[in-house]
């Protein structure tokens, strides 16, 4: 009954963690730097990285944001971010608990039915229970000038041997960092996210594969 599963390409990807150092603010004016929240600054950092990518002439619409903390939804109306993302004034917001990364990627890939490219972002300030601020951004495309890797739609796998699956205590956005790093070094990877809401033996599988 099922049709063949599709995949997409990634035109550019960027991430930010504390290891990178303070978020870069070259894109922001002095007034914007002082007014922006930290969440907005780290999102601005990764979006700025994408903007400066040699293959990216403009940021795509639509913009899909994986929401982990509802306080961050206010960040998404931050005028600093909106100016950078211009002319897209606000993202489609996806919430899915610890499976937010695979679900947001799924929504982004489905949007490629209507658009040539989609901006997908994740970002969260350091708040309990995850005391680590991080952000990631990807541009998904139907076509890309650098098609080294393709992203397959996340699928739910029911198995008891999902070694390496993201644990319940891990930051729900950590998997997005691993995907961005794999993209930027051109290394295929398979990431997993435990889905204990449904079944203790199930996980979402995100495959970043090499082009045949």
């Amino acid at each position: 009954m099922s049709s063949p599963t599709r995949w997409c390409r990634i035109a550019a990807a960027a991430s930010w963690t504390a290891d990178v150092g303070p978020p870069r603010t070259e894109l922001l004016s002095r007034a914007e730097r002082s007014a922006a929240s930290f969440s907005a600054r780290i999102l601005a950092h990764v979006i700025g990285e994408l903007s400066s990518h040699p293959d990216i002439t403009s940021l795509p619409r639509p913009w899909v944001h994986g929401v982990t903390d509802l306080a961050d939804t206010q960040t998404l109306r931050d005028p600093v971010l909106l100016r950078i993302i211009d002319p897209s004034p606000g993202p489609l917001r996806v919430h899915a608990g610890r499976t937010v990364v695979p679900m947001t990627l799924l929504e982004g890939m489905a949007l490629l039915e209507d658009h040539d490219a989609v901006l997908v972002t994740f970002g969260q300030d350091a708040i309990a229970p995850h005391h680590e601020a991080l952000a990631a951004a990807l541009i998904l495309t139907r076509e890309s000038p650098n098609p080294a890797l393709v992203l397959h739609p996340p699928v739910l796998r029911r198995t008891s041997s999902h070694l390496g699956a993201t644990g319940a205590k891990e930051h729900p956005l950590s998997v997005s960092l691993r995907i961005v790093r794999a993209i930027n070094v051109g290394q295929p990877t398979i990431e997993t996210v435990a889905c204990r809401d449904v079944d203790h033996q199930a996980h979402w599988r995100i495959e970043l594969g090499a082009v045949d």
């Binding site: 599963t5 509802l70 998404l76 004034p89 993202p91 608990g97 679900m103 739910l156 809401d197 449904v198």
Partner: protein, 276 residues
Amino acid sequence: MAGFPLTAWALRHPWGDDPDVVFDRLREPSSVVASEPRPEFDRLGELLDALDSDRRRACSRWGSSRVAVVLGMAQAQPTRERLAAVQSMTAERTAVGGAIYQRLGTEAPIAAMASAQRLLRASMADAVLVIGLDDERGSIILLERHGDAFVELCASAEATGTTTQTALDESAVAQVVTSVWSAVGRMPLGAVHTGDPDLDPRADTERRALRDVLGPVHCCSIPGTSRVADVVLAATSLVRGFAPGPDAPEFEHERFLVHGFSSTGQHVALLLRTRA
């Protein structure tokens, strides 16, 4: 563009739980006595129960891994804990093996239908349960790749604009409406569903923007600012052959366009029609 049939739907509304009853009461909304809204999780449980046999049939037909759930959450003040509890309850009660996620925002109950249609078009699912929830109402719709149904969703579109709490971005309205209308060849419409002019000062601008694109089509609205009941009542109106509302004109054309927007700038349009 091929349409996807709405093979089942249900509603939980302060005016009644039968979509036909709510539809009939729209003719005389001033005489309606609304009941106290039930707790959110009670409404969600009742909605899941109402379509339980349809969900089981869909899982049996397509395989559990090909059935997804998209929730459109339009609560005034959602909290992380509430959203997590809704997600968890939905996952446990439906036991589907496909995607389960939530769209957030005022327009989310309609936008969730657009997400579901994209999942079907992209072959990422063969059936999608679309659930809408706000502080008082709830709706559930089963959208499938194929099936016996009188109403189908034949196009959807979303766009971001500069709409705020006080101003409507007319170009964003034109963008989504033109997109869905063009997808089926700009056929005549029976009605267009809009915001409530008694409650939303942007509704008049919305109607003007819609008529600029569509011409003098009949516009109707459902009382209340939430979009949760809109799609179910639009589908019900196609079954009944009348537009919802006090004037309730009979449809000349069996196609119904639903437009929704939020103060965060999101616009969404759906085109429903009766199946040939």
